[in-house]
Symmetry: C2
Subunit: 211 residues, 2 copies
């Protein structure tokens, strides 16, 4: 079974949104072998750091929390779509003709995947792109930036997708992934009442249950 | 596709090991709709709280960290074995005759699954049980307690299993799961250099890739 890890490794020196210190994870060792016979640590992390899934509550007042997610949406075949030629926002025009169909979970591979430092000008989904994805009837969307939108004051991209209960997976690493069809595992950690949660996102090429 | 969620929900009032305050997760809201147009929070959590996977470093000096885990071990068919009649430690005798075979990922369902409060006398895997699992050549083991062992000063259960690179999944919730064969998804969050990581553990009854 071929497994592609499309998750960021969580560490203190990873890229974080806008390089904000408050977004930087802290891993603290509570005990180790200098004075104990075990090793234990603690993690403090902003829920929008690293590879994670947003729930509607993130951008919609009264929206659903991440623990309410229908898990069948994130254990599913998906399509990786090459957007590496796009700069700025991914528009309707960029997505048309890419074979995106009703029920697809779409992963957008952009230039973001090729840098491990935060780029203020990261590629995102512009509101017309979000409207296209909504109209296409997709099941979910993922992108390789830490946010699926930027510089849209009313958060139209989030609002459009969340209004349709379309899960949004952010912070993917897709540099090594060719355009095509894969089986996606992208199950968020079960955090009660939260607006997001970390995800260990994987792509499988073959059927895991055949092995 | 039938999906069973066998993970604990992470919340401030969840059961934690020995009811220690240091093990209790803290979810802090950084911004919400009282004065912002978005909702964001931060989680601080001990890595042995809730459903999680131990890496060898937890109990073996110089042992591998969780990010080194072979993911094919935790995306696999598994066997749920009923140990609900056992009190105290699960021994070799308890496990014999249960159909445990080479290459199995074994999930031990015990009385622990039926309580949401921490029990000082939780059911665990006694060292003879760990030796049996090692000799059987299992691929991995999971249990519904927050630790797979207690009251064994030299941590023989952890040492025996970790010496064979057998992943240890702790903090499962198996009350609703019948003994039998399922497909396990138990992929830990990708935390660099850590001795453990949270897992959203799921059991599937059917082949997810057929749906």
């Amino acid at each position: 079974m071929k497994i592609y890890d499309i998750s960021m490794a969580i560490s203190q020196d990873m890229q974080v949104y806008k390089n904000r210190d408050a977004m930087r994870p802290q891993l603290s060792v509570m005990r180790d072998y200098t004075d104990s016979n075990a090793y234990e640590s603690q993690l403090s992390m902003h829920l929008h750091t690293g590879t994670h899934m947003d729930a509607p509550l993130h951008m919609v007042q009264g929206g659903d929390t991440i623990d309410k997610l229908d898990l069948s949406k994130v254990i599913t075949w998906c399509k990786v779509v090459d957007m590496t030629e796009v700069s700025g926002g991914i528009t309707r025009q960029d997505l048309e003709g890419k074979g995106i169909e009703k029920g697809d979970f779409v992963l957008l591979k952009t230039k973001n995947s090729f840098s491990d430092t935060f780029d203020d000008e990261f590629v995102f989904v512009e509101k017309s792109g979000a409207a296209f994805l909504k109209e296409a009837g997709i099941k979910g969307v993922g992108i390789d930036s830490l946010g699926i939108e930027r510089s849209q004051p009313d958060h139209e991209t989030h609002a459009t997708l969340m209004g349709e209960d379309i899960p949004i997976l952010e912070g993917l690493r897709l540099a090594a992934i060719e355009e095509g069809r894969y089986f996606l595992l992208a199950v968020p950690v079960r955090i009660a009442d939260a607006e997001a949660a970390p995800v260990r996102a994987l792509l499988l090429q073959n059927d895991p249950m055949d092995s």
